[in-house]
C-alpha cells in the first residue's frame, strides 16, 4: 500500500497482509483457550497436544483439541468454499446452505432407507446412489438459487430465503415427518475415521484441493472476481456474467450437499429440523472473518478456510466455557457485526481520515 515510503515498516506490511484478520482471530481464540486452561489448572498447552488413542471399535485414532476442531469444522470449511465464490460473484450471501444441507441429508437417508422407513440397518440401494443423491439434491438447490439470482436478477438473500424456509419442510416431507436412522457402518464412514484420521478432515481437504486447483488451473477465479467487481463491464469484455454467477450458486449448493452428507453421517441419521442448523451463519461468518468483503469482488480462499476453522475454534471454546448450543449464536452474532462494522465504508473512511491527519501532523512536526 505504502509505495512512496521506500522501506515500508514491518507494521505497514503486516497491515496489508490479507490474512491478517483471520490469523489474528485464530491466535486470539488460542490465547483464550490457554488462559482458560491455566485458570482451571490444566496444562496450559493442552490445546496443542495430539495423542494417538486406542479405541475398541475404530482402532487407534488421533485425539486432541486441534483434531477435534479440524474434524468438527469440516462442514463449515466446505460450506465456506462455496460461500466465498457466491459472495464474490454476486455481492450477496446464500442463506439457504444450512437448510440445503438438511434437505440433502434427508434425501440421501430416504434413498438409503427407502421411503417411510424410520430405521434401518440394511441399505435399500447401493451407498453410491445415496451419496450421489445428496450431491445431486445440493446441486439442484444451487440451480434453483442460481436461476433466481442470475437470470431473474432477484437479490441473492431474498432468493435464497425461499429455500431457507422451504428446504427443511421439503426434507421433512421426504422423510415422512420422521427422523430416519441409517445404522450401517458403510454410511457412518463419512463421519468416522479413515485409519487414525477423521474422514471429514479428508473430505474437507479434498474439496479444498479441488477448488484450489480449479481456481489456479483455470481462469474461473479471475472471471468470478471480475463479475463481482463490475458485472456490466465483464459482460462487455465478453464474459457471460449471468452464467458465472449461476455457476457459483450451483457450486455452493453442491458443497452444501457434501456438508449435509458428512453431517448426517456423523449421527447416522437425517433429522430435518436439526441438521445444518445455524450453519449458514457460520459459513457467512467464515467468509467475513477471512477478510473478504461481503460487498463482492476480490476474494481470498485461504482466508475463508482459516476463518472457518477459527469459527469452529470459537464454538468449541464457547462450549468449553459452558455456553450451550442455543446460546452460542449470541456471541457469533456480536462477532459478525463487529467484523462487518469495521469493514463498513463510513468507518473505514473515518479511520483513513484520522491516519491521514496523523501523517500530516507528523510531517509538519518533522518540518518544524
Amino acid at each position: 500500500m505504502n509505495k512512496n515510503s521506500g522501506n515500508a515498516s514491518f507494521f505497514a506490511k503486516l497491515k496489508a497482509w490479507p490474512l491478517l484478520l483471520p490469523v489474528v482471530s485464530l491466535i486470539l481464540v488460542m490465547a483464550v483457550n490457554i488462559i482458560h486452561d491455566a485458570a482451571t489448572g490444566i496444562n496450559p498447552l493442552s490445546f496443542f497436544i495430539i495423542t494417538l488413542n486406542e479405541t475398541t471399535n475404530s482402532g487407534s485414532i488421533l485425539y486432541g483439541r486441534i483434531i477435534d476442531i479440524l474434524n468438527r469444522g469440516s462442514e463449515v470449511a466446505i460450506l465456506a468454499l462455496g460461500m466465498t465464490l457466491v459472495v464474490s460473484s454476486s455481492a450477496g450471501t446464500d442463506i439457504s446452505v444450512g437448510s440445503v444441507m438438511s434437505l440433502a441429508a434427508s434425501f440421501c437417508c430416504m434413498l438409503l432407507a427407502g421411503y417411510g422407513v424410520s430405521s434401518t440397518n440394511e441399505l435399500a440401494v447401493p451407498l453410491v446412489v445415496g451419496v450421489l443423491g445428496a450431491f445431486l439434491m445440493g446441486a439442484l438447490c444451487g440451480v434453483f438459487n442460481g436461476t433466481l439470482v442470475a437470470y431473474l436478477q432477484i437479490q441473492p438473500m431474498v432468493a435464497t430465503l425461499i429455500l431457507y424456509s422451504a428446504a427443511r419442510a421439503i426434507g421433512l416431507l421426504l422423510c415422512n415427518d420422521l427422523i430416519v436412522y441409517v445404522r450401517n457402518p458403510s454410511f457412518a464412514y463419512f463421519g468416522s475415521f479413515t485409519g487414525p484420521i477423521p474422514t471429514p478432515i479428508i473430505i474437507a481437504a479434498v474439496c479444498i484441493a479441488i477448488v484450489a486447483l480449479m481456481l489456479s488451473k483455470t481462469s474461473l477465479g479471475m472471471y468470478i472476481q471480475s463479475v463481482g467487481i463490475n458485472s456490466k463491464a465483464s459482460r462487455i469484455a465478453g464474459l457471460n456474467s449471468k452464467r458465472i454467477i449461476f455457476m457459483t450458486y450451483v457450486i455452493c449448493g453442491l458443497f452444501a450437499g457434501v456438508a449435509g452428507l458428512v453431517n448426517s453421517s456423523r449421527i447416522t441419521s437425517a433429522d430435518s429440523n436439526n441438521v445444518g442448523l445455524y450453519y449458514e451463519m457460520d459459513a457467512i461468518l467464515a467468509v467475513a472473518l477471512g477478510g473478504n468483503s461481503l460487498g463482492g469482488g476480490k476474494f481470498n480462499l485461504a482466508g475463508s478456510i482459516i476463518g472457518a476453522y477459527t469459527i469452529q475454534a470459537i464454538t468449541t471454546t464457547l462450549y468449553a466455557l459452558g455456553v450451550s448450543t442455543d446460546q452460542a449464536p449470541v456471541f457469533k452474532a456480536i462477532i459478525v457485526i463487529l467484523i462487518v462494522a469495521i469493514q463498513s465504508a463510513p468507518l473505514r473512511a473515518y479511520f483513513r481520515k484520522r491516519s491521514a491527519a496523523k501523517a500530516l501532523a507528523g510531517r509538519e512536526a518533522a518540518k518544524a
Binding site: L161, R168, L172, D326, A333
Partner: protein, 344 residues
C-alpha cells in the same frame, strides 16, 4: 409530462399486483369454503379465527412493509418475537405485572431496532447481514434468558390471562351448533390491536412526512438525498419502527400462545416477508402499502387453515406453500420490473 405517463403506468402494474393478491385471497377462501363447508369453514368465525391467530403477524408484517419500502429487509423479527415471548413468560413468572412487562418488551424492541437501524443507516452495512445477526442474537438471547418452555397460566398473571381470554362478541353472523345453541362470533383483544396498528401505519405512510420519505428513499436513494432528505436518519427510523411493531406483534403472539420457548415463532420472518411481497410490496423498494400486506397475511392464514381443515396433510405443507407463493410473486415482480425497464 413523460414523468406523469410513466408514474401512471407504474401505478397500473402495482394496482394490478394488489388486485391479483385480493383475487387470490377470494379464490382461496371460496375454494376452502366449498371444500370444507362441512367442517364449518364457511362460518364467519373461521375468518375471525384467521384474524385472531394472525394478529401478531399483521403487526409484524406492517413493520416489514415499512422496512421493505426503503429497499431493506428485516429477518430478525421471528427471533425478536421469541425473545419477547420468553421475556413476558419469565418476567411474569418472577412476579412482574403485565403492564410493566409489556412496556419493557416494547422498550427492548426500540433498543433492538435502534442498534440495527444505526448499523444499517449510519454504517451502511447490508440490511440482510445486520438483521441476520439480529436474528441469531435474538434466538440466542432467548436461550440465555431461559432454555425451557415456560407457559403463562392464570396463576402466573391473572391480568395477562384475562387479556388473552377476553372475548369481544360480534352481534351478527352467528350460527347454531350441533346441539342447537347459538354460537356468537367473537374476536380477541389482539385483533383490535392489529387493526389499530394497520390503520395507523396506513395513515402514517400516506399522510406524514416520514411516510413519504420512506417511499422517496425506496424509489431512489440518490434523488432522496438530493431532495434534502436525511436518508440515514429515515432508514434508521424505519428499522426502529419495524422492531417496535414487531414487539407489539410479539405481545399479541404471546397472548395467543401463552408460552415462551427457544423454538417459538420459528420461520415467522418468512411468513411476514412473504405476506408483504404477496401484498405487492416490491423487494426493490418504493412500492407497496399495508392494505396489500394485510391481504398477504390473510392468504397465508387461509392456506394454513385449509391445511388444518384437511387434517391429513403433513405439517410442513403450509411452509412449502408459503415459500412457493413467495417464489411465484417474486417471479411476477421481476417480470414486471423487466417489462418496465424495457419500456424505458
Amino acid at each position: 409530462m413523460n414523468e406523469k405517463v410513466k408514474s401512471a403506468k407504474k401505478l397500473n402494474s402495482n394496482t394490478l399486483l394488489l388486485l391479483i393478491t385480493i383475487g387470490l385471497f377470494i379464490v382461496l377462501y371460496v375454494a376452502g369454503c366449498a371444500a370444507y363447508s362441512s367442517k364449518g369453514f364457511a362460518h364467519l368465525q373461521t375468518f375471525l379465527n384467521i384474524l385472531i391467530t394472525n394478529a401478531g403477524l399483521i403487526c409484524i408484517a406492517c413493520g416489514l412493509t415499512v422496512v421493505m419500502l426503503t429497499a431493506g429487509i428485516d429477518i430478525s423479527v421471528g427471533s425478536l418475537v421469541a425473545m419477547d415471548c420468553m421475556m413476558l413468560a419469565v418476567g411474569m413468572e418472577k412476579g412482574m405485572g403485565a403492564v410493566p412487562m409489556c412496556i419493557l418488551v416494547l422498550l427492548v424492541g426500540l433498543a433492538f431496532g435502534l442498534v440495527q437501524g444505526y448499523l444499517i443507516g449510519y454504517l451502511e452495512i447490508q440490511p440482510f447481514i445486520v438483521t441476520m445477526a439480529g436474528m441469531f442474537f435474538g434466538r440466542g438471547m432467548t436461550a440465555v434468558i431461559c432454555t425451557d418452555q415456560v407457559s403463562i397460566k392464570e396463576s402466573t398473571n391473572a391480568t395477562f390471562y384475562q387479556w388473552a381470554n377476553a372475548k369481544i362478541i360480534i352481534p351478527f353472523g352467528g350460527y347454531l351448533n350441533k346441539k342447537g345453541a347459538y354460537m356468537a362470533p367473537f374476536i380477541r383483544v389482539t385483533v383490535i390491536v392489529a387493526i389499530v396498528v394497520l390503520i395507523l401505519v396506513f395513515l402514517m405512510l400516506r399522510y406524514t412526512k416520514f411516510g413519504r420519505a420512506l417511499y422517496a428513499i425506496g424509489g431512489s436513494e440518490q434523488s432522496a438525498t438530493m431532495m434534502g432528505l436525511n436518508v440515514k436518519r429515515v432508514k434508521m427510523m424505519a428499522y426502529v419502527l419495524s422492531s417496535f411493531l414487531c414487539s407489539i406483534g410479539g405481545i399479541c403472539y404471546c397472548l395467543n400462545t401463552m408460552a415462551g420457548s427457544v423454538r417459538a415463532a420459528l420461520g415467522l420472518e418468512m411468513d411476514a416477508i412473504s405476506s408483504a411481497v404477496i401484498g405487492g410490496t416490491l423487494l426493490t423498494g418504493g412500492v407497496g402499502n399495508v392494505i396489500g400486506t394485510f391481504f398477504g397475511v390473510l392468504i397465508n392464514g387461509t392456506i394454513s387453515s385449509i391445511v388444518k381443515s384437511n387434517g391429513k396433510l403433513a405439517s410442513s405443507w403450509p411452509n412449502i406453500l408459503t415459500a412457493a407463493l413467495l417464489f411465484l410473486f417474486i417471479v411476477i415482480q421481476s417480470i414486471f420490473a423487466a417489462l418496465r425497464t424495457r419500456k424505458k
